[in-house]
Structure formats: structure tokens, C-alpha cells
């Protein structure tokens, strides 16, 4: 694997790490399987792209895109809490609706962002070679996001959210409004996802309505794979696992793509993903069996 492919893997892994962190909040903390992501990721891309070609600076555009993602999360929460639609379906419905919304926002399926000032431009101007510029910025953003989430989950509201997901009955018996926790959690998670979409579009050079396809699988591979390889009960370790899981997944993919000798092509990406997640889930079981044998 070339240095270029390696940094490309780190870069893409970091961009999608934000989605993985969001998936950690919904799937793991809140126990709410949220599929809105397939729609909120391209939503972030669409909003940012449309604003940027209309003259808004990339930072403001990315920020507004993030808020748009929060709104998408609120929509799913509304469908689930007020209309009593099953959580998985609520997310799917919002994602489906967002498809049309994104087309409307951009007025076309694709907006090109090549040769535009992006959030990465200032870093490049500082002298960082454009090969590394996105990695630097994304690393900073991901670290900040991770730390904020770690801190948040230790606050009164954060603990309440963890209780709401772990044992809703106990949470309610302690004065916690589970519905409110779902709204907040979905808002944060989809805000992060939309931010990821905006950052990725600026890296890719385009925003496209089809960008959301496959995003949730990748995020779950990162969360499941990461937490299986780094099992822990501590929140900061778990969020770290999700970030590393996202990066490792991309590196594994890059390896699979580069070794043409094995005969793997990009068409086998899905199988590769499934195998990676299966190995990641099997390893801890193997490890504990090994440890047991050692102890004898």
C-alpha cells in the first residue's frame, strides 16, 4: 500500500469517525437503532455545498449543515415519540424524505466543489502539503468531538441519557424523561453525521444525493469492530474504540484494494466488511477462551 493510499485511509477514516461517534450515541448509549444517517449525511453535504456555491464561507456553511443534521434527528425523534412509529422505521422514513429534500436543496443531484475554498484551504496555505491537510484538520475536529462527547456523558444530562438507554424504566423512576433524552441524543448524533457529510464533500470535491448509501453499515462496522477489539466499560475508551474502528476499517479496505494478487476487487467491499466485523466479534471470544486455558 502506498503512502497516498494509507493517508487516504486515515483521512476517510477520520471523516467517517464522526458518523461512528454518532452511531455510538444512538445504537449503543440510547439503544435506539437510528437509520436517519443515510439521509443526514448527504443532507450535511447538500446544505454545505449549496451555501458554498452561493458565496457563504466554508466554516459557516459546515456549521449550518451541522444544525440541519440536528433537525433531521429531531424529525426522527418526533416520528418515534409523538406518532409512536418504531425506531428503526422512524429513521428510515426520515432518511427517505431527506432524499427528496436534498434534491430540492441542491436543485440538482450533484454540486461540484472543485477549486473552491474549503475548510482545508487555510491549512494548505499554512504550508501543510495538500496530501496531509485534511488529515490534520479532521484529526483536530475528531479529537475535539470525542472529548466533548466523553465530557457530556459524565454530566447530569449525559448520565441520564445513558440510563435512558440502559434501563428506561429505572430512568423514569428517577425522574428522567426518556423522550427528551431521545430527542437530545438523536439531535447530537445526526448533527455529527451532517458535519461529517459536509467535511467529506469538501474533501471529495462534490456533494451528491447518493452519498448516503452504505454509510450506516460503515459506521456500524467501525462501532462494532472497534468496541469488540477494545472492550471496556469506560466511556472514553469506547469512543476511542469507535474512532480507531473507523480508521482501521478504512486501512483494512485499502489493503484489500491494493492486493490485487488475492483477486479482490472493489466489488467485494461488502463481503470484506462483513468478514472484518465477524472477525472483530469472534476475537474477544477467542481471547477469553485462550486466557481460560492459560489460567488452568
Amino acid at each position: 500500500m502506498s503512502l497516498y493510499a494509507f493517508t487516504g485511509a486515515i483521512e476517510t477514516g477520520l471523516a467517517f469517525a464522526l458518523v461512528a461517534l454518532g452511531a455510538y450515541l444512538t445504537f449503543k448509549v440510547l439503544d435506539f437503532p437510528d437509520l436517519t444517517v443515510e439521509g443526514s449525511f448527504p443532507l450535511g453535504a447538500s446544505v454545505a455545498a449549496k451555501l458554498m456555491v452561493s458565496g457563504v464561507d466554508p466554516w459557516t456553511a459546515t456549521l449550518i449543515a451541522t444544525f440541519a443534521g440536528c433537525l433531521a434527528g429531531f424529525a426522527t425523534a418526533f416520528l418515534n415519540l409523538k406518532l409512536r412509529i418504531l425506531h428503526i422505521l422512524a429513521g428510515i422514513l426520515t432518511a427517505i424524505a431527506l432524499y427528496s429534500v436534498n434534491l430540492r436543496i441542491m436543485d440538482r443531484p450533484n454540486i461540484g466543489l472543485i477549486n473552491m475554498t474549503t475548510v482545508y484551504t487555510p491549512i494548505e496555505r499554512l504550508g501543510v502539503p495538500s496530501l496531509y491537510a485534511p488529515v490534520v484538520l479532521l484529526a483536530i475536529i475528531v479529537v475535539i468531538a470525542k472529548i466533548l462527547i466523553d465530557l457530556f456523558l459524565g454530566t447530569g444530562v449525559g448520565l441520564a441519557m445513558r440510563a435512558a438507554g440502559a434501563n428506561p424504566r429505572m430512568a423514569q423512576a428517577n425522574g428522567i424523561r426518556v423522550g427528551r433524552m431521545i430527542v437530545i441524543g438523536l439531535g447530537i448524533a445526526n448533527g455529527l453525521t451532517a458535519m461529517s457529510g459536509a467535511l467529506f464533500a469538501q474533501m471529495l470535491g462534490a456533494a451528491d444525493v447518493s452519498m448516503g448509501i452504505g454509510v450506516i453499515v460503515v459506521a456500524l462496522a467501525a462501532v462494532i469492530g472497534g468496541t469488540a477489539l477494545m472492550p471496556s466499560r469506560l466511556v472514553p475508551m469506547l469512543t476511542l474504540a469507535c474512532v480507531l474502528g473507523s480508521i482501521l476499517y478504512r486501512i483494512a479496505l485499502a489493503l484489500a484494494l491494493s492486493t490485487g494478487a488475492i483477486g479482490l476487487t472493489a466489488s467485494d467491499v461488502n463481503v470484506v466488511t462483513a468478514v472484518l466485523v465477524a472477525i472483530a466479534l469472534w476475537l474477544p471470544v477467542r481471547r477469553s477462551a485462550f486466557v481460560k486455558r492459560l489460567g488452568r
Binding site: S2, G112, I114, L204
Partner: protein
């Protein structure tokens, strides 16, 4: 130095030169496509055939690295990165999103894009002539006025034209906008029937039966993926379908004045050949398939026309380049 050692040195030197020269003769091209639907694979086929015609033999003086992103943008980004790391002599990008990804990622490696409908709007280049930079290519922009003329010729009392297409495809959308712009002055109204995904293609067609006099399908990989089902709907509903390229007529569309995707692949090979021989893509004008010599031809499917209840004007058949 003894005679033997100088001979050996000379031989080694000569061998190295020969190997280096040989290595310099082997060209490396990397091809990326967003999807591997049959239509796009036809482009690749044409590209390989065209390169062979120019004297490149895979395995001998040409290495080809072909990858499909399977519709996944994250994967496309990684593939582009991998290509750049391998430093090929040229990257060929099929469809708009992969072209955008490649152009955003490198300013050094030459890029030839193909099967992109609107290179300017997609921000691939800033101008058509002498675009500068490291990218150029071929657009599959559909000559909509020519197409619609044929439709009017075969369906003289055309009042309403239906459009079946996938709104998430930039290429299709561009063609649809173009048709909507000229339809008024050609004297007919447009009814759009979007198909979001391949499973919705037949129902998108069924929605138009009884409402329109004819259906037009722009170059759309989604609809072409389920084209036979659309043809069946049209034949059952007695609504003629027209398309923008050759293969779909073979599959059941009534007629087109269009080009052939395999042919487009061959023309792409012409541009690739120039780049491999040293021309900079930035010095090559954007080419429009429809403007290239001998690219457009009239194709007619007599059998399907009958099934769709359409009477073909006799002289039209005489003008056809190929009748299925």
C-alpha cells in the same frame, strides 16, 4: 579492465538500458467507474478495444487497473487515493462523481473523463477550449433537438411527451432540463415520471401510460438497468419509447439518433492515446460525442415499433444506419 569484465560490464549496461527502455515503453492506466452497470462496462470495453487498435496490448506494453466503487462514495475516494499512490500514466474516470473525486485529489496525474454529461456545470473544467489543468475528456451530452425531431417524425401528432429517469443521476437530469427547455417551441408538453431506483422503473412507466403520446428516456444507468421491463410496459400500453443511444434501441426502444457507448469508449481511447504519447490534457479541448465525426446515427427497432403500435414512415427506414 580485462576483456571479459569489460564485456560483462557492457552487457550489463546494455541489459539495464534495454530493461529501462522496455519499462519506459510499458504504460500504466487506471480506470475507475462509479457503478458497473452494463452501459458503463460498454464504455470500458470500447476503451480497451480502442487502445488495442492504437497498438497497446494488455500485459505487453499496457498495464490496466480497473476498479468499480460499487456506488459507494467512501470507496471511490479510497480508490482514487490508491490510484494516485500507484502513479499511473493516466487515470480514466467514468461518470461524474468519480471524475470530481479524481480532479479534486490530484493536479499532477493526467485525467481523462468520459460519460460525463456536463463537464462545466460539474466543475470538472473551467472552460471547454484548452481547459488547462490536468483534466479533459468526452461528454455524452445528448443532442436533444435532433432526438426530439425523430420523435416528432415518427409520432407526428405528439402533444405530450413523458420522461422516465432517475433524478439522482446528474447526467439524466441535465438532459431532462435541456428537453424541458426546447419542448415548448417544438409544440408539446412534458410529463416527468421519476424512478428512484431500479425497482421503480416499471411503475414509473406505468404511470405514463394513457397520459402521454410517447416516452423518452435519457442516458440513465438506473433505467437502463431495468430497460426490458419498461419496454414491456410500453408495448402493453402501446406507448412508443425513444432513447438517446444505440444499445437501448436494440433492446426495444423504437428509434434514436444517437451514439453508441462502446463507440464513445473508443473515442475516449483516442484521447488517452494522445496523453500517453505526451499531450497534456489541459491542451485538449473538451469533446462532445455528438459533435464527433460519424458518431451519430439513426437506429430503428422495427419489431418493437410494431408492438408499440407505431407506424414507421417508409423513407425513415431507408435512412437508418441499422434496423433491428
Amino acid at each position: 579492465m580485462s576483456k571479459t569484465s569489460s564485456l560483462l560490464t557492457g552487457a550489463a549496461f546494455g541489459l539495464t538500458l534495454a530493461v529501462a527502455a522496455h519499462a519506459a515503453d510499458v504504460k500504466n492506466i487506471a480506470i475507475i467507474t462509479m457503478n458497473d452497470t452494463p452501459q458503463l462496462l460498454e464504455v470500458k470495453e470500447g476503451l480497451m478495444a480502442g487502445l488495442a487498435a492504437h497498438g497497446y496490448a494488455e500485459g505487453k506494453n499496457l498495464n490496466v487497473n480497473f476498479k468499480s466503487a460499487q456506488g459507494n462514495f467512501g470507496t471511490a475516494q479510497q480508490i482514487v487515493r490508491q490510484f494516485i499512490g500507484e502513479n499511473p500514466d493516466v487515470i480514466v474516470t467514468i461518470t461524474t462523481p468519480t471524475s470530481q473525486a479524481a480532479i479534486a485529489a490530484t493536479k499532477d496525474i493526467p485525467i481523462i473523463f468520459t460519460t460525463v454529461t456536463d463537464p462545466l456545470k460539474s466543475k470538472l473544467v473551467t472552460q471547454e477550449k484548452h481547459p488547462g489543468g490536468n483534466a479533459s475528456g468526452i461528454s455524452d451530452l445528448v443532442p436533444t433537438e435532433l432526438q426530439l425531431n425523430i420523435v416528432k417524425e415518427i409520432v407526428p401528432n405528439l402533444k405530450t411527451l413523458g420522461l422516465v429517469y432517475d433524478p439522482s443521476l446528474d447526467n439524466a437530469r441535465s438532459t431532462v432540463e435541456s428537453i424541458k427547455a426546447i419542448a415548448p417551441k417544438m409544440g408539446f408538453a412534458i410529463v416527468e415520471s421519476p424512478a428512484m431506483g431500479i425497482n421503480n422503473v416499471p411503475s414509473a412507466g406505468q404511470a405514463l401510460v394513457g397520459k402521454v403520446d410517447a416516452i423518452f428516456v435519457p442516458n440513465d444507468t438506473t433505467v437502463y438497468g431495468a430497460f426490458e421491463s419498461l419496454v414491456k410496459v410500453a408495448q402493453d400500453g402501446k406507448v412508443p419509447i425513444f432513447t438517446a443511444e444505440r444499445r437501448s434501441v436494440q433492446r426495444g426502444a423504437v428509434a434514436t439518433v444517437g451514439f453508441d457507448f462502446k463507440d464513445m469508449g473508443k473515442r475516449t481511447a483516442d484521447m488517452v492515446d494522445k496523453v500517453l504519447k505526451g499531450t497534456k490534457p489541459g491542451d485538449m479541448d473538451i469533446q462532445y460525442m455528438k459533435d464527433l465525426p460519424n458518431s451519430l446515427a439513426l437506429y430503428i427497432n422495427k419489431d418493437s415499433a410494431e408492438k408499440m403500435g407505431v407506424k414507421l414512415p417508409p423513407d425513415l427506414l431507408k435512412r437508418a444506419a441499422q434496423v433491428f
